[in-house]
């Protein structure tokens, strides 16, 4: 059975909002052999999830140091990349190394800083040195994780412009509409 004074010291240390010295502990737990109680407690808690630790001449309980990783959990939440994100990633993949200004020229739309940040956070894009032109703008390129994520052996596996055209992915909207009409010539017959 645990000694009455030891359990008083245990409770006092647990409820304290800062490490306590011997006298402060005695002030709460009452007269007794505080050092002996501390030694008993340190011994009892050794190897448990909680440890009694000494900081200078003060004592406190803390979570066992080797379990600190349990207190911070990372949780992954799937999120769909935005349209701007996918387009920017595609331009980088097809044109790397490419500067932000070049990406904007190709997209025809400005890109926000957050867009490239998201791609870097995802691990798909990395800074790839500076272009030796006035202003020395940073260039971007894809990473090995990018190839792995999209199941590509290399960037050469990306379909070329001709492939895209053949797949109908390059057709402007009005041309696509015209084709649809030809495909259904008797629609209004």
């Amino acid at each position: 059975m645990i000694d009455g004074y030891v359990r008083a010291v245990e409770a006092v240390l647990f409820a304290a909002d800062e490490p306590l010295g011997i006298e402060a502990i005695r002030g709460h737990a009452g007269d007794g052999d505080v050092r002996a109680a501390l030694a008993t407690l340190a011994d009892h808690y050794a190897g448990r999830g909680i440890e009694l630790v000494r900081r200078g001449d003060r004592w406190h309980f803390q979570t066992a140091a080797d379990l600190a990783h349990l207190l911070r959990r990372d949780r992954e939440e799937p999120r769909k990349l935005s349209r701007a994100g996918v387009e920017t990633l595609a331009i980088i993949a097809y044109h790397e190394p490419v500067t932000r200004a070049e990406i904007e020229a190709i997209r025809g739309v400005q890109i926000s800083k957050g867009t490239v940040d998201v791609l870097m956070e995802a691990g798909w894009v990395r800074p790839a040195g500076r272009r030796e032109v006035p202003g020395r703008p940073l260039t971007y390129a894809t990473t090995p994780q990018f190839l792995a994520h999209f199941g590509l052996a290399s960037r050469r596996d990306l379909p070329g412009i001709d492939d895209l055209r053949a797949a109908g992915l390059l057709d402007p909207v009005d041309l696509a509409f015209e084709n649809a009409e030809v495909a259904n010539p008797d629609e209004d017959a």
Partner: protein
């Protein structure tokens, strides 16, 4: 007993309503609420209110309403029974006793609740725990199709595009104007617009000829060179030379 009522008098403002006062008075009887004498309680309450008013203390209306009801209950309990009376005085007395019991039970329960081991008063948690954190990380999703479709979209948007208009059989507005003006000059009476189309026209060319001839008719009507007539929307459109 009188002395206790006396001490209660001082505290007229301390009561949470007439039922609360009644419960406090009932407790001075020092018996279980189930064995309370309602008649005695009524006397206590009426005495209390009289006393308060004698001292010119402000007595809120709901206490006076209760006093009137209790005075009525008292007379009903004491006077010979009226068998027609609903509810009976005994029922009213029992209801009052049940209400006091319930309030008394909750008051005791509240006291016991407060007297327990309360967190922060009797028992303590760690005042400054390390805390647990869950860091939410986005796992970005996109697949290869999204990627190449996006590139196609960007290319389509920004590359020069050559528009090719397919060669289709059409009747131009100029041809239709010439044709309708000539034919209407030959006609004597009203004729539908279809009569002005080439006899061998079919398919896409016929639709084009009809559209152009219609526009030509409107233009000729504006110039006063033709008259138009249509009985109803979508009814046949007739043309003739102005009289």
């Amino acid at each position: 007993m009188d002395a206790e009522v006396e001490t209660l008098t001082v505290d007229i403002d301390g009561w949470e309503g007439p039922l609360d006062l009644l419960l406090a008075l009932a407790r001075t009887q020092k018996v279980d609420l189930r064995a309370i004498s309602i008649l005695e309680l009524v006397e206590q309450y009426l005495d209390f209110i009289d006393h308060a008013r004698a001292l010119r203390l402000e007595v809120a209306a709901d206490y006076l309403v209760m006093a009137a009801w209790l005075a009525y209950l008292k007379s009903a309990l004491l006077l010979p029974r009226d068998p027609e009376q609903e509810p009976s005085p005994e029922e009213m007395a029992l209801r009052l006793q049940l209400r006091l019991e319930r309030l008394g039970a909750m008051r005791d329960a509240g006291a016991r609740l407060l007297g327990g081991d309360r967190l922060g008063r009797d028992v303590f948690r760690r005042p400054a725990p390390e805390g647990l954190r869950t860091v939410r990380k986005a796992a970005w999703q996109a697949d290869l199709y999204d990627l190449i479709a996006a590139y196609g979209r960007v290319s389509a948007r920004t590359r020069p595009v050559m528009h090719i208009v397919a060669d289709r059989p059409v009747m131009t507005l100029e041809a239709a104007l010439e044709r309708v003006a000539r034919l209407v000059g030959e006609a004597i009476d009203w004729a539908t617009i279809e009569a002005f189309l080439p006899a061998d026209a079919g398919g896409a060319f016929r639709r084009s000829a009809l559209a152009s001839s219609f526009l030509a008719s409107l233009e000729l009507a504006r110039q006063g060179r033709v008259e138009l007539r249509q009985q109803a929307p979508f009814a046949p459109l007739y043309l003739r030379r102005p009289a």
